[in-house]
Symmetry: C2
Subunit: 205 residues, 2 copies
């Protein structure tokens, strides 16, 4: 692309660095900002700068936060002795959107994957173990990726947890609305093995 303005070109290049944004989309976004009021763009710019420089990570669960303790860990009406272990902040947002969980989280930051050079020390596993030792913990729920790496991570953490804690994982099976014939054999096989009595099945209809 040929630009007649270096300012325009650098703005397009900055947007094009973002994941999933190509040069054409970047140009469309920049031309949109160019048409906006100057204060609007100033605000956009300020929000991004402040977000990156002022955002904190919860000292207890590593979730994003505006203070040392995130709003979920600071909420006394939530069950603080139930910990849901997730990979990322995005998973916290997804689970919170279901409005089905009233415990706390622990963001480990990924799963153990030796091939990608990710070992237990790169993840927030020590802080989780320490947390379960220090605080009274009734249950640890794993909500990690349903992959070999996810299972490895569950196995690794589970062995290190203090005795007497209930350890569970979110149900894996056929997605609601999914079709049996398109499910892979692994999922279908496991969902058969882990079948539930119908009176325990909670439909969200």
């Amino acid at each position: 692309m040929e630009f007649s303005s270096a300012l325009l070109e650098s703005a397009v290049n900055e947007f094009a660095k973002l994941p999933g944004i190509g040069k054409k989309t970047a140009l469309r976004l920049v031309l949109h900002l160019l048409k906006e009021e100057e204060e609007e763009v100033q605000h956009f710019s300020d929000v991004m700068r402040r977000m990156r420089s002022e955002i904190k990570f919860c000292q207890r669960c590593h979730n994003v936060s505006d203070s040392d303790l995130c709003s979920i860990c600071a909420n006394t009406s939530r069950k603080q002795d139930i910990i849901c272990v997730v990979e990322s902040i995005r998973d916290v947002i997804a689970l919170e959107s279901t409005q089905q969980f009233n415990g706390t989280y622990h963001v480990v930051g990924g799963v153990i994957s030796p091939l990608d050079g990710i070992g237990p020390s790169q993840l927030n596993i020590d802080t989780l173990i320490h947390r379960t030792q220090k605080e009274e913990t009734a249950e640890v729920i794993f909500a990690l990726s349903p992959t070999i790496q996810g299972d490895t991570t569950i196995y690794y953490i589970q062995k290190k947890l203090p005795a007497g804690i209930k350890v569970t994982t979110i149900a894996r099976g056929i997605a609601f609305g999914g079709e049996l014939e398109y499910a892979d054999e692994m999922t279908l096989g496991r969902s058969l093995q882990n079948r539930l009595p119908v009176d325990r099945y909670v439909g969200n209809r």
Copy 2:
């Protein structure tokens, strides 16, 4: 979506204001920025702010520019007496990318469309007429949308241009690589009417 941080939420909302960016994409972009170095995000923020506040529009052709005269109008090796009339800055970038044009541009800012409340006075038409009267102009090439509104705009401007200027429009017809059977009748009919002798046809193979 439920956010545990107001800073994160406002950043996601700012991104989601951009065209074609939904909440989920906005979250992905913000989490990407969150993982970047603080200086990188500072730079991103600064570039957007500077782009909006410092960018200028060329006093002659209304293209974006870093100074009073854009780099195309200031380039003496380009034919300054040939003016290509386009709707937007995006069209200038598209035409410049072809590297087939060595004249100048005039960004009128849209097409006359009474139904959308856009009349000649909302567009940069007066400055174009003034420019052709003041400067020696050999040719005005229209590269506007191939619509009724585009044709109306061509007709309106053409009548106001000083006598003696060659007035042309970019060729309309079947797109290179396009298939005849999928072309609409209007396009196909016109491309038959405006057929070219084969020795004047310049293939870009």
